[in-house]
Amino acid sequence: MTFFTRSKVAVPCVMALCGLMHAGAQAQTEIQWWHSMTAVNGEWVNDLAKNFNANQKEYKVVPVFKGSYDESMTAAVAAFRAGNAPHILQVFEVGTATMMASKGVIVPVGKVMQDAGFKFDPAAYVPAVAGYYTSPKGEMLSYPFNSSTTVFYFNKDAFKAAGISTDKPPATWPEVALAAAKLKANGHKCPLTLAWQGWTQLESFSTWHNTELATQGNGMRGMNARMVVNSPLHVRHIENLGNMAKQGLFVYKGRGNVPEATFVSGECAMITTSSGFYGNVAKNAKFGYGLSALPYYPDVPGAPQNTVIGGASLWVMSGKKADEYKGVATFFNYLSNAEVQSASHKRTGYLPITLAAFKLTEASGFYKQNPGTDTAVNQMIRKTTDKSRGIRLGNYVQIRAIEDEELEQVWAGKKSAKEALDSIVTRGNEQLERFEKANTSKN
């Protein structure tokens, strides 16, 4: 990659190519949109662009699939260095701090909207969603696009077989352990598994219990944040899970979303994962399933607070022409429409991004017809606190990998919960210190 990005030869060639392409579409201004949505969600993205293009003649949004989230970000980095970045880039939540720190690379979405003369009111957005993408100064930097959060799924058939009530699914961790024990006594091989373990069991767990994962409001107030994920509450939770792993109540099934397949197949009876998993379950599960809020510890003051989002937002890249920015703003304005938002929410299972879209969906009776689909929304539509607003860590990709590595040591019985969490703090802080150093020295 480095070889291509630094190559000064490639730039004129690419620019010549762009010139040719541009000549063909002079009447319309083209807006390049790089995204990472596949399958059902890829069709959704294409439909959004198609409908926008059909509604007006001035601009044409061209969605381009650029591979997974990290691949499209790497591609954008290479393109930016070659002076050929897209107008809109979809970046996953983990890349937020990197995008924010890269001064001169992006244009804040609030500025794009105001320059184009659109009314832009951050208060119209769901607080826990908008807050995640808002700078310490209160400026909204990127446009929240597909946001999900952490929820709890359970297999109703397995619950019935083990004599557990399906009307009152376990709401707290002690209840989850009890249900898992009953499932195991009933011969179930995998009562509980966890997907996105760092996100669900450390990050979202922290905001849900109104406890800091890192200082400075989890990094939301500045880059000098440091990890504090070895608090007694965190140790207690990971210790509990470690014990459950020893007893065969929790079975580790891998990193990222890999464990999700074991829930759909019926192998595992309970799972904590993304609300975006709903579409997959609804389509493929051959058993009764239920959806409920992420479990919590009832004795912790302030819990449950709100869970933290995952997913991605749209960033506007710098160095483009004024009328192109106007096109981007027009497109975002279209996406903000409550009808469009509500339709997207129902279609994908991602969160509604504006409060108006939530109310519209509620009024349409969708939540009544599809019980459980409002779980994620209810976890998010709350007034956030300084500790629960969001999580913004530099070198987040590495920190997520560190979380995976250390938690695996606990599940394998090689480290105690305290040792693993202490290690996450030490290793995570090295990453944070380096990020702070790399991004403050340039001013």
Binding site: T2, W411, A412
Partner: protein, 293 residues
Amino acid sequence: MEKRTPFRSTWLPWLLIAPQGAVICVFFFWPALQALLQSLQQADAFGTSVEWVGFANFQRLWQDASYLESFQTTAVFSALVACLGIGISLCLAYFADRVVRGTVIYRTLLIWPYAVAPAVAGVVWLFLFSPSIGVVSYALNQWGFEWNALLNSRHAMALIVMAAVWKQISYNFLFFLAGLQSIPKSLIEAAAIDGAGPWRRFWTIQFPLLSPTSFFLLVINVVYAFFDTFGIVDAATKGGPGKDTAILVYKVYFDGFKALDLGGSAAQSVVLMVIVVALTVVQFRFVEKKVNY
């Protein structure tokens, strides 16, 4: 006695090696130089600020305990891949050389895996050995062997070694087969007449005569294990459990392409380059002395 045909012109030989020289410069020396320069820099992802930091990136590596552990992991992995890969393919080539009927079918089937991309090989083996859905792991569990590559380091290491070896066997096989076929039949027949059995003939005639091929493959396989295996690791284990299968080149890939830490990643590739150069020099100085050409 040497056979030589000297060029009369002084510029013609240079012209003739120019295309090859250009390819090597553009695709090997230039990127290597870039890596060297970048290893001395610290930059943000988009390259808007580049700062010369001297040897800070290297210093950070030496202070990172997990990086130093990864040397051991890499040594184990590379030794296993090179030994198993060469041993198994030598065995296969020896038997394929002796097959009388259906030679073409055997050979073609043995060469096929080479056409598979490393990442795909990783996925194929992952599917066979995945704890929940793998066919092989299901069978192993039925027989009472608790296979769990997700939490057991040895199982995870076995998984990536199998995938890496399987991928490289065809390449080794081709060279060994060609090597075996170039050994004059008369030598083997003479030994057979003297009463040497197949085992004896292999150890005293064929194996020593194959030594140039074996040596070449040793170098190639070590380089393969060091550089070309990140796709397999990424697809099969992602370096887990913990960091127990995170070999050096996987960390280069992860830090550079996933985490966008170009300075750190470049420093690691420089370290890797130095190791492989050193290993190759050692191989040429010491192992090559045992080779008969």
